[in-house]
């Protein structure tokens, strides 16, 4: 009945009637999730109006793609999902919508995959402002456009007041991995270089300050951004990237520990080489935090062969998402499974996995 394959459509050129303006309610109520007209109006007005692509506009129960179309990008499918329950919904530098799209796009990109399509499942709390929902959806579309992906299918549920904290958002994503690209946490080898694409700890700091009564004022904003095209630029000069992960919860320290353990190698970090904004350093000093454990939402850690490190670094620095990329360490044989920090002061210490969330301290 409807068009199955996503032709080369550009969002906005679908030839569909604009559907905005149908929802007059200011707040979400249970009717919006009940499957009836109120829900259809909500979907058409808020979601279709924003996401605006032919696959979604067809309003089928599923999005269908030809395999041949997918195979143009590579030979394996990458598939991931993530659920976002961030509090507060809006924070400096982004919101739950930006996170939901960038987070899933990045999970795909970390395998080297070209991110293509996302689904979007929402659980909305009764009483949520429709205006807030529109803002979140607009952020999702903006980020999707930046990332070159389409949100092609979704689901909406409404639960009673108190059963959800404003909004829980799930995105699942599919992408295609180019032939020959084999990125895995097990691939790190002695001599490899460890690279990050820019300033560390921005998101974690911004969220911590936004969430608590810490009274700290600063201009730190979340670094939330999709990394698909940065990864493509890196692969163009170095198809044999060994390991790559985005340093979300638990920060760079967690990712490096995962690599060290999976590859059974040591990773030696150079504290003086870590890119950190002055304000993040300042916030960490006041609150007693270690930036290595702070979350990022637009930063990746890559482990590449030593002989390709300079080229990869140059390619990253030429890209807007990698302007402040830096080599922060190297892979060694011993002590296996351990991450060691060479402090700027001249000593050494291990950087272990963190237990639980890092909290501000006064001692």
């Amino acid at each position: 009945m409807s068009d199955q394959a996503p032709e080369k459509t550009v969002p906005g050129q679908t030839g569909l009637r604009r559907r905005t303006g149908k929802v007059r309610d200011t707040h979400i109520n249970l009717a919006h999730g009940s499957g009836g007209k109120a829900m259809r109006d909500l979907i058409e007005d808020v979601f279709l109006g924003a996401f605006d692509n032919p696959v979604l506009a067809a309003m089928e129960d599923q999005a269908v793609f030809t395999l041949a179309e997918l195979a143009k990008h590579g030979d394996r499918l990458a598939f991931t999902t993530d659920t976002f329950v961030v509090d507060p919904l809006f924070f400096p530098g982004g919101d739950i919508g930006t996170l939901a799209v960038a987070g899933t796009v990045n999970d795909l990109a970390m395998s080297g995959a070209v991110p293509l399509y996302l689904s979007c499942g929402m659980v909305l709390e009764e009483g949520l402002s429709v205006e807030v929902l529109r803002r979140v959806v607009a952020s999702m579309q903006r980020t999707a456009k930046l990332a070159g992906v389409m949100i092609v299918t979704g689901d909406t549920k409404v639960v009673e007041r108190g059963a959800a904290d404003k909004s829980f958002l799930n995105t699942a994503g599919v992408g295609v991995v180019p032939k020959g690209v084999e990125i895995s946490a097990r691939n790190a080898r002695e001599g490899d270089a460890v690279i990050v694409n820019g300033y560390l700890g921005d998101h974690g700091t911004a969220i911590l300050i936004a969430r608590n009564q810490l009274g700290v004022e600063c201009g730190i904003a979340s670094d939330c951004q999709p990394l698909g095209s940065l990864v493509a630029a890196m692969l163009a000069v170095c198809p044999e990237i060994h390991c790559m992960r985005d340093a979300t919860r638990g920060g760079v320290a967690t990712v490096l520990n995962e690599f060290a353990e999976s590859s059974n190698v040591a990773i030696r970090l150079n504290e003086a080489a870590l890119p950190l904004r002055e304000e993040v350093k300042g916030a960490c000093e006041i609150l007693g935090l270690d930036p290595l454990y702070l979350a990022n939402e637009g930063k990746l850690v890559a482990i590449v062969p030593r002989e390709k490190a300079d080229q990869v670094l140059a390619a990253m620095r030429a890209h807007p998402a990698g302007e402040h990329a830096a080599i922060i360490g190297e892979v060694a044989e011993e002590p296996a499974g351990v991450v060691v920090l060479h402090t700027a002061f001249g000593g050494q210490r291990i950087v272990d996995m963190l237990v639980g969330e890092q909290l501000p301290r006064i001692c």
């Binding site: 009564q213 000093e285 830096a326 000593g347 210490r349 301290r361 006064i362 001692c363």
Partner: protein, 391 residues
């Protein structure tokens, strides 16, 4: 950052490291057994591990980690009292982040929060006061934790609450004093310490005179130290120099912050609001006379202990716990039978593993690798890739 970066200078670290080695070579008894220096304050323990300072010192010097960690010495019974208060209806329980994960006999404050109690993390007691102003229909209880460094701030907040005639703000006071603790350490027959690194920020408040008994009566050198790594290394040098020259004095390395007489305004505020308790319970160390403070009668309406009833039970540590011995420096963290096995940061038995500055947590998170040879490897031996440093 000014007054921070200069005191992290690796070149000066190398200088001090050399001088310390030179001095130690001339101390005869250091050849028989390592010189044991106790850093009293948990903040120094944290700095030592965080910057890898032990690696810059010769094997003849050993740090013995002291009990100056107010979270580490918080008895489980007091944590239970906190939880009981937090679980009262209408209460907002405000606490520093440090205390939130310490396990009580049933749960920690973090778990209480997950179970529905309104526990809020604050950076300052003033933030708790603001919560009281902003929530007139709720009772705000602030968990006052810490040594003399933090006491003045809590005292000033209580004075502010009184000035504003707030009726919904109170303090659950767990402030403790450092001098009785140091005395208990010195009197302990298990310890053979050669010198002390004194608490820089406590001293900023109380001044230097209170430590004189250490030098005069016990004949041990003590250097009041700042918290940047260069401060710590410099202080170690000063203590070693005292030992080498046969001196036992109170020295002040942290002159840029610590005045001889302390901070009189801060001391006056403390004296107005608080009085000494006859004794106070310290986890792992038992009861120590005159080591805690409570709110004076004049400010009774701001004393959570008078306003609310708490279980106030003395809970024994788990049998396997050797927190007390580690706190006193009798054993090292890795010598505790349950270190790393039954007691880990994921599942802490004792508070030394929970607190970020607890010796066990610090050792587990930062220093564990020392036993596998990291200490033997001088930093210059590890050549690091640094094509371009941080932008």
């Amino acid at each position: 950052m000014k007054y921070v970066d200069e005191f992290r200078d690796p070149e000066k670290a190398k200088t001090l490291s050399r001088e310390i080695r030179h001095l130690v070579a001339g101390i005869a008894r250091a050849k028989q057994r390592p010189l044991q220096i106790m850093e009293v304050c948990g903040g120094h323990t944290h700095a030592i591990f965080r910057y890898g300072i032990a690696q810059l010192l010769p094997d003849e010097i050993e740090f013995v980690h002291g009990p100056g960690c107010p979270v580490c010495v918080l008895p489980m019974g007091r944590v239970d009292d906190c939880v009981a208060l937090a679980e009262l209806p209408h209460v907002i329980f405000a606490t520093f982040g440090d205390a939130i994960r310490v396990p009580g006999s049933k749960k920690s404050l973090l778990k209480a929060k997950a179970d529905g109690a309104d526990v809020r993390m604050v950076y300052s007691p003033l933030d708790a006061l603001k919560l009281a102003r902003d929530n007139p229909d709720r009772e705000v209880i602030f968990f006052g934790l810490g040594f003399e460094t933090t006491m003045p701030s809590t005292a000033m907040t209580v004075l502010q609450a009184k000035a504003e005639n707030l009726t919904n703000f109170s303090l659950f006071c767990n402030h403790i004093t450092i001098i009785p603790t140091i005395k208990a350490i010195l009197d302990s027959p298990d310890l053979h310490l050669d010198g002390f690194l004194g608490p820089g920020h406590v001293s900023m408040v109380i001044g230097l005179r209170s430590y004189e008994f250490i030098a005069e009566h016990y004949r041990k050198p003590i250097t009041i130290s700042g918290f940047e790594p260069l401060d710590v290394l410099h202080s170690v040098w000063m203590v070693i120099k005292q030992i080498a020259e046969g001196r036992a004095e109170v020295e002040n390395q942290y002159g840029r912050i610590v005045p001889r007489n302390g901070n009189e305004i801060a001391l006056a505020a403390v004296d107005r609001v608080f009085e000494t308790r006859e004794f106070f319970e310290w986890r792992g160390l038992g009861s120590i006379d005159h080591s805690g403070v409570r709110v004076r009668e004049e400010f009774a309406e701001f004393d959570a202990e008078r306003k609310f009833s708490v279980p106030n039970l003395k809970i024994a540590d788990p049998k396997a716990c050797q927190c007390g011995e580690v706190l006193k420096g009798v054993i090292k963290p890795q010598q505790c039978k349950v270190f790393g096995t039954a007691c880990t940061p994921e599942m802490p038995l004792g508070s030394l593993m929970v607190s970020t500055e607890g010796a066990c947590a610090a050792y587990y998170n930062y220093g564990r690798i020392d036993t596998t040879g990291l200490k033997k490897r001088a930093p210059s031996e590890a050549t690091l890739v640094t094509t371009e440093g941080a932008p």
